[in-house]
């Protein structure tokens, strides 16, 4: 059961081949059996079985949707009413969310079953899932390596078949990079496509939630439920949501693919490059035309991001003050001591590093040199994307410079960790949508192909990924021991 697609599971539920309660129980059993991966922070067993019973009743009545009764898991960044929502931090270890995020509400309305809350880098700051207060997540393809981050629990759980699919969020690559390192399909939608209401904020002008699934088809089903205007999110975009399944099989004749030369130069592992070449050749066979393009400002994406994201983070995380919710230190001497120690004891090292960086970049005398300069570069990077996407339909490239690295290998060197996000960060600065599609293996470890499209072209990206998945089976591979 755990290897089936959402569409097949929906069929099985309707035909009575199995019930949602049976399906949910089988996933709960697998989660227990593979708890050493550390992909879940909270398993909501009782709630899941209750939701599964309700889903079975709804299916019996005949008013089910595709996701009704399907066991999914939520990144622990989404607020879930009555359920602990930690964001991977000691700061929120005691936080029972008083309301549901819009994304959670939408999955609940669709009748999806929530298995639990998934591990992640603390406040989504990290590329390896090692900054989590709840410990590192292991990559099911090689448990000595990281699953990527920050949605590392989501990617590991889907790859190991501990959930049919999962939500993720992506501020600088946090859906695409773990999807690539764990061999699953992940989509970061256009900024504003999926509501941020109830999604704990890291960098508000970059954060975007999206689907993480085994296939493009499953991701399309998820996005159909997740996307849409939400008046509770001030930057939600009021645009109609297309039918993401309708165009999945459109043919790719004449599709114009651009390969930025800046993406294929120094720093990209040669075996990864060869794997991507083979994938791009597959697209030629499907009728696509491929041309080299140039996006000269991409190289400045990392410095600009590490000004803008920490600046927004330092403002957003000022809400954690030990007064209204979350961690509070013992016996504060005065109000300043209360703030300083609650925050000092509640946040981990990477979060502190970014709060300090952001506070510095926004402080008097440095604001223009860092923050305004970075925002100007953000405009130039965004124009690179606009120019490129006027010339080609989609841009393709790597997601990561190499396959999954070892647990402990980069955590001591933050700058080296930041540089591993070189291919994903620019996309968030521009706000365009992008996917990671499983494209092969190097030494038994998955490689992802990045497909980047124009604003609100999620349907086209899903179509492009789906057609590739019709002629390849990389996305169907299962890590050893998790079959």
């Amino acid at each position: 059961m755990h290897n089936k697609t959402i569409a097949d599971l929906a069929k099985g539920l309707r035909s009575g081949e199995f019930s949602s309660v049976e399906l949910t129980q089988s996933f709960l059993d697998r989660i227990k059996q593979h708890s050493s991966l550390n992909s879940y922070i909270t398993v909501t067993e009782d709630l899941a079985l209750q939701e599964a019973m309700a889903a079975d009743a709804r299916i019996a009545k005949g008013d089910a949707e595709l996701l009704t009764g399907i066991p999914i898991a939520q990144k622990d960044i989404f607020c879930t009413q009555g359920v602990k929502t930690t964001c991977g931090s000691k700061m929120l270890d005691n936080f029972i969310a008083p309301y549901d995020a819009t994304v959670i509400e939408k999955f609940n309305n669709a009748g999806a079953v929530m298995l639990g809350k998934l591990n992640m880098d603390e406040f989504a700051m990290g590329s390896s899932n090692e900054t989590s207060y709840y410990g590192a997540v292991k990559n099911p393809w090689d448990t000595n390596t990281v699953p990527g981050g920050s949605s590392g629990g989501s990617a590991a759980a889907v790859a190991a078949r501990l959930a049919v699919c999962a939500t993720g969020t992506d501020t600088g690559g946090s859906i695409r990079q773990p999807a690539a390192l764990c061999g699953i399909t992940g989509l970061k939608p256009t900024y504003g496509r999926v509501s941020r209401y109830g999604m704990i904020a890291y960098a508000s002008s970059l954060d975007q939630g999206g689907p993480m699934a085994r296939s493009a088809e499953d991701a399309a089903i998820m996005l159909q439920t997740m996307a849409g205007f939400d008046e509770k999110d001030s930057t939600s975009v009021d645009q109609p949501v297309p039918d993401y399944l309708a165009g999945l099989n459109n043919n790719l004749d004449g599709l114009k693919i651009g390969l930025p030369k800046e993406f294929f130069g120094e720093g990209l592992n040669s075996d990864v490059a060869a794997t991507l070449d083979a994938a791009i050749n597959e697209y030629r066979k499907l009728g696509a035309e491929v041309k080299e393009i140039s996006m000269p400002n991409l190289k400045l994406a990392i410095p600009a991001y590490y000004v803008i994201a920490p600046a927004e983070c330092s403002a957003n995380l000022s809400r954690f003050d030990g007064v209204r919710y979350g961690y509070r230190c013992e016996n504060p001497a005065d109000l300043t001591d209360l703030y300083t120690r609650s925050r000092g004891e509640g946040f981990g090292k990477e979060v502190k590093r970014r709060i300090l960086m952001g506070t510095y970049a926004l402080s008097a005398g440095y604001y223009d040199a860092y923050y305004i300069k970075a925002q100007k570069i953000r405009r130039l990077i965004s124009e690179d994307f606009k120019n490129a996407l006027a010339e080609v339909d989609v841009i393709m490239g790597p997601v990561t410079p190499s396959t999954a690295f070892g647990i402990g290998e980069k955590i001591g060197n933050p700058i080296e960790m930041y540089l591993s996000d070189i291919y994903t960060i620019a996309i968030n600065l521009a706000g365009v949508p992008a996917m990671s599609v499983p494209a092969g293996f190097v030494d038994g470890k998955p490689v992802g192909l990045q497909v980047i499209g124009n604003y609100f072209a999620e349907d086209r990206l899903l179509n492009i990924a789906h057609r590739y998945q019709q002629v390849t089976d990389w996305h169907q591979q299962t890590p050893k021991g998790f079959e």
Partner: protein
Amino acid sequence: MSLTADDVKKIAYLARLGIDSQDVESYAKDLSGMLDLMTQMNDLDTDGVIPMAHPMDQMQRLRPDEVTEHDNREKFQAIAPQVEAGLYLVPKVIE
């Protein structure tokens, strides 16, 4: 560009963020490394470029001035560290 231990302490105070004294040096080193990375931005002439704050360049949406939020005080205070008589408690601020 490099930051000293004193700079880090100043920034940490601005952020009301407690830092263990044995970690100050390592933060100074990490932040200096980040600032070095950022000096690359100066390689690019950005005169006349309009700063981009938001991917959609959109205006703040307006809505009718109607009450949409209800009183959730009890619910929200149920998860607060310390409350009394409907108020959030903090150490004494005014003598």
